[in-house]
């Protein structure tokens, strides 16, 4: 991190450029048009979505100037929005059915393009693996947002016979591109929904893990003494039990359900985050500036939030990526063992398990045999992508150069 990153140059709010105004206008107009059309289908969600999009557009317009982006990047953002708008216009039929998904897709497009624009200088110089990772992550986030639009059928809709071969047409229109599962549901649609469900739950769980683990870890490091000792010993005990088996036990006790799943995994996993954030913060709390803040009479929360956390940010962000991978694989493993999301909700691990027998029919139909590998591959792809990005990030922040 160089000196210019720490002290931002004094910046005057500059007048919004033409591209910027155009972009803001488009962000409001595109969903507005969709809502106007979808109004007849589902008026309540259309109105809610319209309000949300107006608020979003207004906030964007209000804070756009603060981002202080050079003109070329604003145009890039506008370009992304235009592409999304074009998609909406071309597939209006699908998009108008799900105004909320349209809206969240727009938000994700804007946020992702902004993130890329702000970090463009580094992103451009990133190695090819990190670029690949970023693209895969962006595609996954977009898929989470607009899954119902992308999927040709509903996730629990029975459309044909069990285990239909790839590319068979359904009786009532549409094609089973990846065949059907054991109940005759479209495999492709289920996979898209499964990515949405599993990735969504993994993101929520990781966020919760981090809020709990990092906060308690920083607290333990700042307070020291018996609080630190008792928390650390507790974590030691929890970590001595293998996590998969512990989760299995707890989930058998409390029963399965999305909320329970999230809470159990967050609890088990926050022990790891606790360890890391505590050890990182231990080195920070002895620094002079923390001492100075304490002597100034700052409250504990201020010290943790303003002095310790910013200096522990880099390792924690990298850990966030790795934790996400771990949680994602963990959820998949649990649902592979039958303790994850309950049917008919699709999720990647249980899809692998339910169609695993197809693998034995390799001699008869090679395409059918690799069907169970598809959801597993989806898991692997996202995990690889996150790992590549984290690797690049760590390399960049640790200052390791060749």
């Amino acid at each position: 991190m160089s000196a210019t990153d720490i002290i931002p140059p004094p910046e005057l709010a500059k007048p919004a450029s033409m591209a910027c105004r155009l972009g803001s206008a488009l962000t409001v107009l595109i969903p507005l048009a969709v809502f106007a059309i979808s109004f007849s289908a589902d008026s309540a969600s259309a109105i809610a979505g319209m309000v949300a999009s107006v608020v979003f557009g207004g906030l964007l317009y209000r804070f756009w100037g603060r981002l202080s982006l050079p003109p070329i990047r604003e145009q890039a953002i506008v370009f992304c929005i235009l592409v999304y708008g074009a998609f909406v216009a071309v597939y209006l039929e699908g998009f108008s059915l799900y105004p909320w998904s349209t809206f969240s897709g727009l938000v994700s497009v804007v946020v992702l393009s902004m993130m890329v624009a702000v970090t463009w200088k580094e992103t451009r110089k990133a190695p090819i693996t990190a670029k690949f990772g970023l693209i895969i992550i962006a595609l996954n986030i977009l898929m989470v947002c607009i899954a119902p639009i992308l999927a040709p059928h509903e996730q629990s809709q029975v459309l044909g016979g069990a285990y239909m071969v790839w590319g068979t047409p359904f009786a009532d229109g549409g094609t089973a591109w990846f065949g059907t599962d054991e109940l005759g549901r479209d495999y492709l649609s289920r996979m898209i929904y499964a990515i949405r469900n599993t990735v969504g739950i993994a993101i929520v769980t990781t966020a919760l893990t981090f809020i709990v683990g990092a906060f308690v870890g920083l607290l333990a490091a700042s307070l020291r003494g018996w609080v630190d000792q008792s928390l650390s010993r507790m974590v030691d005990v929890l970590m001595a039990i293998p996590p998969l088996i512990f989760a299995l036990l707890i989930l058998t006790v409390v029963g399965t359900g999305v909320i329970k799943l999230i809470l159990v995994i967050a609890l088990l996993d926050s022990t790891r985050v606790f360890r890391l954030s505590r050890s990182v913060a231990m080195n920070i709390v002895v620094m002079d500036y923390v001492e100075a803040a304490k002597l100034r009479g700052e409250k504990l929360m201020y010290v943790i939030w303003r002095e310790v956390l910013p200096n522990a940010a880099a390792p924690l962000i990298a850990e966030f990526g790795l934790r996400f991978c771990f949680v994602f694989l963990f959820i998949s493993s649990l649902s592979f063992l039958g303790l994850g999301l309950q049917p008919p909700t699709a999720d990647l691990g249980s899809m692998v398990r339910d169609s695993a027998n197809l693998i034995n029919f390799y001699q008869y139909n090679k395409l059918m045999a690799i069907t169970p590998l598809l959801p597993a591959f989806a898991i692997a792809l996202l995990t690889i992508a996150v790992n590549f990005v984290v690797d690049w990030f760590l390399h960049k922040t640790s200052g390791l150069k060749e």
Binding site: A240, V253, D391
Partner: protein, 324 residues
């Protein structure tokens, strides 16, 4: 040397306390499981009388504290009671399974530890070369794969797609070993599970080896060795490796623990009769003695391996004996 023994004794004591707390947590959790073994065992045919008799037979009608006390008293004498479902001695049931698990873990470790050390040292030697980059991408990828993905790919590639005219594959896709299986047949059957585990753990250890060695290369004594004109490979193996041993041993211990403890998925996919699988089944049937004993074995493995790693770390770096 005294200090080493004191430290080891301290850690060992801490480990015993940890195990005790773990057993208490597990017992408490099993207590709160909805339904007990007798209900699960009789299922639909449960009448009040048979269930009550069954409870009395298995001491399930005593209070929690009494039962836990009995269990602890027996457990310290290595008597883990008898399995509720098939009335066999738990130590006997688990003994066979534990042997299988250890065999598989040993098999996988025998391949993966030397392999990862070798690859890691090579990567440190030729760092930033195309070989290093390739290995980096490869290991990152294999870390990211879920175990069942690796297992199914291997099954498809090495087992099912190799079924010839006589109907036998190159390697069997089900590792159904039993006590009488001769060694080589067993090794052949277990090749796929062992290979899966190897692929899963090798990346972690290799990356750590490489990072630990490269970390040291900036030290003055390495510079000195270089100035003396010693060859690059000799510097890495003779000068850097001994000092990089502590983190490497740590990560090896962690992965060995994983090989014993975390293989439930691989066991399920490849139908291998190991400890993880029996534990999953025992939880399903509320077979408490079995669950308790196997979780204790897992926890003890974890504690012991961590202890070993700590001791190696301390012995290889005496400064750690005198904390400031």
């Amino acid at each position: 040397m005294d200090r080493v023994f004191i430290t080891i004794a301290q850690r060992l004591g801490l480990g015993v306390v940890t195990l005790f707390v773990v057993s208490l947590i597990i017992a408490g959790m099993l207590e709160t499981l909805p339904g007990d073994f007798c209900q699960a065992f009789y299922g639909q045919q449960a009448t009040e009388k048979t269930v009550a008799e069954c409870r009395q037979r298995n001491h399930l009608d005593e209070s929690f504290i009494v039962r836990y006390g009995i269990w602890v008293k027996d457990a310290v004498q290595f008597d883990f009671g008898e399995s509720l479902s098939n009335k066999r001695d738990v130590a006997q049931v688990i003994g066979v399974r534990l042997e299988n698990t250890l065999f598989l873990a040993g098999f996988a470790a025998a391949i993966s530890v030397p392999l990862s050390l070798f690859l890691g040292i090579l990567a440190a030697l030729y760092r930033y070369s195309w070989y290093d980059r390739l290995v980096n991408v490869f290991t990152l990828t294999s870390i990211s794969f879920p175990e069942f993905f690796v297992a199914y790919i291997l099954i498809l590639w090495l087992s099912i797609s190799t079924i010839g005219a006589d109907g036998t594959p190159l390697f069997p896709n089900m590792a159904m070993v039993n006590v009488d299986t001769p060694f080589w047949t067993r090794a052949h059957m277990m090749f796929l599970p062992a290979l899966t585990l190897t692929l899963v753990v090798v990346a972690h250890m290799m990356r750590m080896t490489r990072a630990a060695i490269i970390n040291l290369l900036a030290s003055p004594y390495i510079e000195m060795a270089r100035l003396k004109g010693i060859s690059n490979s000799r510097i890495i193996v003779k000068h850097a490796l001994p000092n990089a041993l502590a983190p490497i041993v740590n990560v090896i211990a962690l992965n060995l623990a994983y090989l014993i403890v975390g293989v439930v998925i691989v066991e399920v996919v490849l139908s291998y009769p190991g400890l993880g699988k029996i534990l999953v089944d025992a939880v399903k049937f509320r077979d408490f003695p079995l669950v308790q004993a196997s979780v204790m074995i897992f926890a003890a493995t974890y504690v012991l391996l961590n202890l070993t790693a700590d001791i190696v770390t301390i012995v290889s770096n005496p400064r750690l004996l005198h904390p400031r």
